[in-house]
Amino acid sequence: MPEPTLNSFLLLSAVLFAIGTAGVFLRRNLITILLSIEVMLNAVNLTFVAVDRFRGTVDGQIIVFFVITVAAAEAAVGLAILIALFRHRESLNPDAFTSLKW
């Protein structure tokens, strides 16, 4: 087993971020899309913590703290919007919400 370097952590977080992007593009369920956004946020957090370790600072972890706070706010507002949308259309398929389509 090779010892993990900074590159392995960066590669791992790149893979996670790509999985998250693919989820946002490919899924047709608003809940899964929100979950994919969480996956992307966590990929970025992993980068912050890994680079933090590499440089021997704590600033990255403080930014992770802020990112998690923003993610909590995003999840609360996003899920509230989702509930409101579901009340209107009885559907979570993003293709059902096309009223603003030009």
Partner: protein
């Protein structure tokens, strides 16, 4: 740093994340995401960041994921309806979704190429004297240098709370 635990945790993390995205039932997606967050918390501990690992478990798994779980149950977990056509077509549907799939694949390849070209940078490890970031250090930095950002965050939380209540409230008739 323990190489074996890194590879085990990384495998769990990637597999669970792929399954989160590949799942049709949002309930299973939420549980798999909790598994992937647990693996990520393990990686944070390997990276000498116990504070990040703890807030990952407490805030992410304990609060955000429970919120998701509540909503999935509240909306009675409508599973994604399958579209007609064969499996490949379903994965890479028509129009903008097809474009999105190609775009995310290109993005992944691009990131991997950029990272492979970087020189290998060994991580400082605990047995070679790299310090573990304690809550004391983080708290000192957080309340001295990042004090304003911290206060701004509390306003953000308040706004999000009010916004969530206003958005999800039933309109009085």
């Amino acid at each position: 740093m323990d190489a074996i635990s890194f590879w085990i945790l990384a495998t769990i993390l990637v597999l669970a994340s792929v399954l989160v995205v590949g799942q049709r039932n949002p309930m299973h997606s939420v549980f798999l995401l909790i598994l992937s967050f647990a693996a990520l918390a393990g990686l944070y501990i390997l990276l000498g960041a116990p504070f990040a690992a703890m807030i990952q478990v407490i805030v992410y798994v304990g609060a955000i994921m429970v919120l998701f779980l509540f909503v999935v149950m509240l909306l009675n977990a409508p599973t994604e309806e399958a579209t007609s056509g064969d499996r490949i077509r379903r994965m890479f549907g028509a129009g903008p979704r097809h474009f999105g799939a190609v775009l995310s694949a290109v993005f992944a390849v691009e990131l991997a190429l950029a990272l492979i070209r970087l020189a290998s940078m060994p991580m400082p490890s605990a047995d070679r004297g790299a310090p573990v970031a304690t809550v004391y250090d983080i708290g000192l930095r957080l309340f001295h240098d990042y004090g304003f950002a911290f206060e701004a965050t509390s306003v953000l939380i308040l706004v999000a709370m009010v916004g969530a209540i206003v958005l999800a409230r039933r309109e009085a008739r």
